[in-house]
Symmetry: none
Subunit: 192 residues, 4 copies
DNA sequence: AATGAATGAGCATTCATTCAT
DNA sequence: GATGAATGAATGCTCATTCAT
């Protein structure tokens, strides 16, 4: 019975992941999720308090990993020079590969939930790193904060796009990621 | 009376623009829009046929300009080398400066409407230009289509981010745009 | 001004007649009527208290004529043998020819209004005449009331159908009416 | 539970039948139907997809029987002389007796639905039979099509009127039907 | 644990009607 | 007299959530 319960619980989580990714948190209906599992909508509430709890159960571990990631790479203080953004991208890729659907839900499908600002947080953090580590190395001075944010947003969008198109081929993903970062961040010197 | 009518009509358009931008077309409610104006939901229908017409009234002129822009820059055929993407970005900026909220609604808030694929079209077009004009100039061969798409997505995200953060200072916007493109596209040689 | 007022009033009546006939009283919208006249819906209320008053203004004279017709032919009491149903049909035809749209509205398009039972009244009256004048001449006894009603309903439906298909040719209408009544009431002896 | 569900489903069907018959499909409101059952409007949608499905569930079997009936009696081609209209009326009566409210809804209350032309179809079919089989036997020539239609309309109205007044006494219904048809079609020779 | 049943608030939309101007 | 503006109740329908069984 405990085993069966876990099966159902897992089924709900799986179905919800698919549904949230397919139509987004706001547009996902409990009925549709229940149908995917083959149970009734009401029964979901035996396992989760409500729709938001269901989302929580799905993304909060991933969310924790992402925040841990951010806090880890921030530990050494403002003036650190390593890890570079490329290394950070690799670490994000690792998290993604271990939590694919959850990651994509967080980045693309959680509008309407309390997680809807997670992407912004990422952008803000990346912008901070770019502003303090990348821009100072440029000769000309710029209104740095906003530019850094645009670069961060741009960078993350490209990375997340590659994630969203991931087809199971990890090697290609990592190569594309590397190429993308080389081209947009390190001026493609390796590629030219 | 005519003045008052135009005032209300304008008020509805303004409120709808805000609401569409805030929560997106799909989740914008006619009641919420009406409340912003201080009228009842039914009254909106004295001015616009339905929710879609309201969106149309807001974004269709901007939409036309954007499609004209795409068709114009596509005219010379596949082999053109000019205008460069940077020049294209400038033209997009011009359209944006004349239609700020409309532009942002089209790019961020029109899911659920007939305009929901406009951003994709932009990305697809940019990816095509990048794949045929930019990537071939690199020495190493890459799985070019996907990479081009990632770069396109990245590029547009950065551009649109600057738009979304525009505070009225056109000069700064244009400078940031230039800096951003230099850094991500032209390897920042001017800036280094 | 008085002249203009009468013009508008007449225009509203004309438009309402058309609308009521086209879609029925219940389904007719004040806005649609106003549009036919080229005025605003609100302005109709300067001439008529409400939708029902508008219907009243259109059909009540005809209604009066019809009730007068019924009361006239009923005057002589229960046992009269004349006018025959055929003569009654002729008198109804006269009223119809003088009040075509009004008549058809009363018969086909007044559901939802206080006139919606007028057709029933006709049927009831005709049934009474049929029961007291026609059925007694038959040799076999029948459950007469209900049969009389069915015959009445049938008779009126045929008559009203001819009215509804009237194309302006009065002579043909009267001939069809005669033929129809001969065939259904008087056993078509003239025609056979 | 299954029993209760069937009870409610049946209750909805019963309430809808009454409502459709009382005010017609178009003006029947889901809320009004729900009130008759003692549930909320939304709950109806747990049993039926939408208003049209609800009507379908009520009348489509009857509709099928009626169309089968028409197609059966049409099988032998244009020149058949049997079954006579009286026999056809008997067959219609059989269908009616098995589907009373459904039949009446189809004939009187389905305007606004996809079934709204069923009565017209009946009339058209009856008019065709009358024009090709009955009128040619008359000595004098008439503008036959219109007259046939009037007779058809008349005939069906009488038949349907008897249906609408049916009180459960099948024998009386059949007798009245026979008397009515004798009187209007076969000139009442049996009765005189 | 699981279900079927039910709710009530919400949605876009329509429309007869009112009213200040 | 006429208008434009506005209302409020009603429509069919959806959905997260609750609850007795």
């Amino acid at each position: 019975m405990q085993i069966q319960k876990e099966e159902i619980r897992g089924g709900i989580l799986e179905a919800a992941k698919e549904e949230f990714l397919a139509v987004g948190y706001r547009h996902a209906s409990m009925r549709a999720i229940a149908e995917r599992v083959g149970i009734t909508a009401g029964n979901i509430y035996a396992y989760f308090n409500n729709k938001e709890s269901l989302l929580d159960a799905i993304v909060s571990p991933t969310m924790a990993k992402l925040q841990e990631l951010i806090s880890n790479v921030s530990k050494d203080g403002i003036l650190m020079t390593e890890p570079t953004i490329a290394e950070l991208a690799q670490q994000i890729t690792d998290v993604f590969l271990q939590n694919r659907l959850q990651f994509l839900i967080l980045m693309y499908g959680c509008s309407g939930s309390k997680y809807e600002h997670i992407r912004q947080e990422f952008t803000r953090y990346a912008a901070f790193r770019i502003e303090t580590e990348l821009l100072p190395r440029l000769s000309r001075k710029t209104q740095s904060r906003l530019l850094a944010e645009a670069i961060a947003e741009s960078l993350l969008s490209g990375i997340f796009y590659l994630f969203s198109r991931f087809d199971g081929d990890e090697k290609t993903l990592r190569q594309n990621m590397k190429d993308f970062l080389m081209l947009t961040l390190y001026h493609g010197t390796e590629l030219l």
